[in-house]
């Protein structure tokens, strides 16, 4: 059994705790149903369109199109809900991938935390280079503008699993000389590039 660092174990616990909690557009139960659907399980508490969306984002992200997203919009899915769904599915993929890679079973879904969604009003988000409104041009740090909690989750995961998006010293993207757990920056970026290439993601 590999000795997973405490900071990663703590990240996993922290992220699952927010997955099961109410978000901006979805209840905790709905968020867990999205996770379940993304994993390929049959879910009866979501619309078929949402279940399908979760699975497609999880399994075939490079095949997604704006036309497809527009069909979801035509069926009533708001952009805020879509962005929260995207953020959730992406997080689940990261967490599940890590568990698989280190040889652990996929984590069973926890029980949801009750409560209603807490909508967030985002000011100044427009379509600017992507498919969904963002605050500023669409790029990795703005794609989740409509779902701030999912943005925070993305940053949290990046800081622990990869490098912090901002900053110049330590385990940050600004530090070209970083060595983390014995991996040099070039080795880290090689893995990142290989992952993206296999996923057909060319950003």
């Amino acid at each position: 059994m590999l000795a997973v660092p405490a900071e990663i174990e703590e990240l996993i616990e922290r992220r699952w705790d927010t997955v099961r909690s109410p978000g901006a557009s979805f209840t905790g139960a709905d968020r867990l149903a999205i996770a379940d659907a993304a994993r390929g399980e049959h879910v009866t508490t979501l619309t078929s369109a949402m279940s399908d969306a979760a699975r497609r984002i999880h399994d075939e992200p490079a095949a997604l199109t704006l036309t497809w997203l527009d069909t979801l919009r035509a069926e009533g899915l708001t952009d805020a809900a879509y962005v929260e769904l995207v953020g959730l599915v992406a997080q689940i993929r990261a967490l599940d991938t890590f568990e698989f890679g280190v040889g652990r079973p996929r984590r069973a879904l926890p029980d949801p935390i009750g409560g209603d969604p807490s909508p967030v009003e985002i000011v100044g988000a427009t379509i600017e280079g992507g498919w969904v409104p963002t605050v500023g041009p669409a790029y990795p740090m703005s794609v989740l503008s409509l779902a701030p909690a999912e943005h925070d989750a993305m940053v949290d995961i990046s800081e622990v699993l990869y490098l912090a998006p901002r900053g110049g010293d330590g385990f940050t993207m600004g530090n070209q000389h970083v060595v983390r757990d014995g991996l040099t920056r070039s080795q880290i970026e090689f893995v990142a590039a290989r992952t993206s290439l296999v996923n057909d993601c060319f950003y």
């Binding site: 660092p5 990663i8 997604l64 992406a90 963002t134 970026e189 992952t195």
Partner: protein, 108 residues
């Protein structure tokens, strides 16, 4: 970012090694990194134990876990960008030539 880190550390990296396993990229342990990354993200239960053992032998356990962690992070990032329609900027597009991989037609 790979090119930037190589330049910053005076390393010579053949970017084609990212996409072509027969090309030595110049990144230490690239074969083991590739095998482990692929087995992890492609969810290959047969190859993964072999790739993990090779990575541990070459890089050590901590670096092996970190490799898996980085791959997991980019599984997340790739989905965030693809699901929101964010593709490579115009300035990024020559990277396709560097890694000797054609950009998909959806990027124009």
């Amino acid at each position: 970012m790979l090119r930037a880190s190589a330049d910053a550390n005076d390393e010579t990296v053949d970017m084609r090694g990212v996409g072509h396993v027969t090309v030595e990229s110049g990144v230490p342990g690239d074969a083991e990194l590739t095998a482990l990354t692929d087995a992890t993200i492609l969810r290959d239960p047969d190859e993964l134990p072999v790739a993990r053992a090779r990575a541990i032998a070459e890089l050590g356990e901590a670096a092996t876990i970190r490799t898996i962690a980085v791959a997991a992070n980019f599984e997340m990032m790739n989905r965030l960008l693809d699901a929101t329609g964010v593709g490579p900027t115009t300035s990024m597009r020559p990277i396709g030539d560097l890694i000797d991989v054609a950009l998909p037609s959806r990027f124009g």
